[in-house]
């Protein structure tokens, strides 16, 4: 008892807090005054349209995979608001470093549907995409893009360019040293980088409670010396608002920010996964009540920004775009085999020229 009393007399030298941001309730009603951009009906409609396109595109991609016309594919079902909301707050010149499930961000940044299909269809040309030339491609090794984001941000700061690196990864990635190391460095150098953890509750079959003992993922930023915020990741208005603030702060030189987007993966991890092996349909069903599209549609309809007719038009338009993209993807022939040598080095070393010839079926020159 004596020692307990003595401990209470020790001074507290640091206190931290983590806040949670939301704007729209699951029924689509505003829970607080909305950020300024919410007055821009055109922007809100664009956010909605992008999420719908992503969901319909995912559905088509899975159908292609199931019929042997696409490789393994990761759907964004249930978490569309995260990648779309974050990307919408970026400028063209900012640098996106996505994980493999951030199609929404790539699409917003100008990557074409057929390019995404090409990548998941097993063609490197999908990464030679129409989005900003400096954006990174999908990152498959979990969390390994976080140090790149810190490196990019260091380069931007060194050159005094008012640009920001935006790095997306999942809840599983926050368990990796890569992410800690990157955040720690970014904090030490006050780098212009925003880290976004899409907390969809499941890293394939491992639930968050086995991933970490931490109460929030957002608080992981605190140890790195900057603030973290938890955001309702099913609320695209809140996501956009949080990203806008974080990106602006990073751009203004106040250092990195961390956003934990709390959402739920309504689909399987990928087309190679069967989530019924590790979680109940009841659990998934319960989360459907909070999904981002219905919520935002309710808000838009309530605000007279969106109608049933708009919805029908959008569905038809998405269908048309997606079919055109699929057509384009399926009619793109594979590269000639020997081109696998063409981007190995800037100039193919002499030593490998014979191998290239062999693959091309040419005589050794």
């Amino acid at each position: 008892m004596a020692s307990k009393r003595a401990n209470e007399e020790l001074p507290v030298i640091a206190r931290f807090e983590v806040r949670r941001r939301n704007c729209l309730a699951p029924d689509g009603s505003a829970v607080r005054p909305l950020p300024a951009f919410a007055a821009d009906a055109k922007l809100l409609v664009e956010l909605y349209r992008s999420m719908v396109l992503l969901r319909l595109f995912d559905r088509k991609a899975v159908a292609l995979q199931r019929t042997g016309r696409l490789g393994t594919y990761a759907v964004s079902l249930g978490q569309e608001a995260v990648s779309v909301g974050v990307a919408s707050a970026m400028r063209e010149e900012d640098v996106l470093l996505p994980s493999y499930r951030d199609n929404g961000a790539l699409l917003w940044r100008g990557v074409r549907l057929e390019e995404i299909l090409l990548f998941w269809g097993g063609d490197e040309r999908g990464n030679q995409f129409s989005g900003p030339v400096h954006d990174f491609p999908f990152c498959v090794p979990v969390g390994s893009q976080a140090p790149h984001a810190a490196g990019v941000a260091y380069a931007l700061k060194l050159r005094k360019e008012p640009r920001v690196a935006v790095c997306l990864f999942g809840d599983g990635a926050t368990s990796k040293g890569d992410v800690y190391e990157a955040m720690n460095f970014a904090g030490a150098h006050k780098l212009p980088v925003v880290f976004v953890a899409t907390n969809n509750q499941w890293a394939i079959s491992v639930p968050l409670r086995l991933q970490t003992g931490s109460e929030t993922l957002a608080q992981k930023a605190i140890a790195a010396g900057f603030s973290g915020e938890q955001v309702d990741g099913n609320d695209v208005v809140a996501m956009r608002a949080a990203a806008e603030e974080a990106i602006a702060a990073a751009r203004n030189g106040t250092g990195p920010r961390f956003i934990e987007a709390v959402t739920y993966r309504l689909g399987d991890h990928t087309t190679s996964d069967d989530a019924l092996r590790y979680r109940s349909p009841e659990e998934v069903q319960a989360h459907w009540k909070e999904e981002p599209l219905a919520r935002f549609r309710s808000y838009l309809v309530g605000q007279k920004m969106w109608t049933k007719a708009d919805e029908e038009r959008l569905a038809a338009e998405c269908h048309e775009r997606i079919e055109a993209a699929v057509e384009c993807y399926l009619s793109t022939p594979p590269r000639r085999p020997e081109t696998m040598f063409d981007n190995l080095y800037a100039d193919l070393p002499e030593t490998y020229v014979a191998q290239r010839h062999e693959l091309a079926g040419e005589d050794d020159a």
């Binding site: 640098v95 490197e124 040309r125 990464n127 030679q128 995409f129 030339v133 400096h134 990174f136 491609p137 498959v140 090794p141 390994s144 976080a146 140090p147 790149h148 984001a149 810190a150 490196g151 990019v152 941000a153 260091y154 380069a155 931007l156 060194l158 690196a165 040293g177 890569d178 190391e181 990157a182 720690n184 460095f185 030490a188 696998m340 981007n343 190995l344 080095y345 800037a346 070393p349 002499e350 030593t351 490998y352």
Partner: protein, 326 residues
Amino acid sequence: MPEVTLVEAINLALGRAMEDDPDVVVLGEDVGLNGGVFRATVGLQERFGSERVLDTPLAELLISGLCVGMAAQGLKPVGEIQFMGFLYPCLDQLVNHASRMRNRTQGRLTCPMVLRTPHGAGIRAPEHHSESTEAMLAHIPGLRVVMPSSPDRAYGLLLAAIRDPDPVVFLEPTRLYRAAKGEVEDNGEALPLDLAFVLREGRDVTLISWGAMVKETMAAAEALSAERIAAEVIDLATLKPYDENTVLGSVAKTGRCVIVHEAAHTGGFGAEIAALVAERGLSSLLAPVIRVTGYDTIVPMARLEQHYMPSVERIVTAARKACQYN
């Protein structure tokens, strides 16, 4: 021309590269004020500032990952890993990102980075400071692996590595950092990558080595000459991609091939060269290829390390055996 040590030549090349190109940045643990644990970066922070010569946190994975991010943004980062024993957290970044960024984006993003690290035994260092695992790195497509063995080649090859548009792992022989001295003109002239150096010409036997073992290999050649055996010595210098033509040309001339490396025997880079000679130089061989290497053991700590590393005597014996074969 001034005579400098190998580590001083590294320092000269780094300074020259930074002077010539504002995109070159140097990063690593203790590389700033302290000038690196081997003093390879000494004085650079004073000259170029702490933004371009930065002390990173103690995190090797981070150093290699930062290099990838910086390089993709157009900088030319030169990362330092204090010892090769601490390089392994970087393998994920080297295999999954640095080596394939150009390919996976079909040239949209590239990775002109250099990762430098001292390697090899013989300096009575603590555990984990003595390995030579270059073969592991030389197996990675898309990388370049360079191992200089003298001050002038260290200078010229490091400049070439920094200017190269692709990722390079640059392995510096710890044992020669101060032991190797030679004239180096700080003229900014790079040496070609992917080319081997013929350090001594001879008609009887080809001795192929790289890194610190070049020293013993040259000494062996000298000893052999007293026995009227004229050994040709090749410093391979770049292991990935390596200069097959110089190897094959020399073996065609001598008919005998002895490969010397400090790394463990099985799966060492000597096996690759032996396979090349078997595939494309068999008809010129007058004797079996012989490898003189470290043993297939963990590199022993200081008390036994001299017994692990190939000695001049072992090299001489192997060369003699090759010459006596009929």
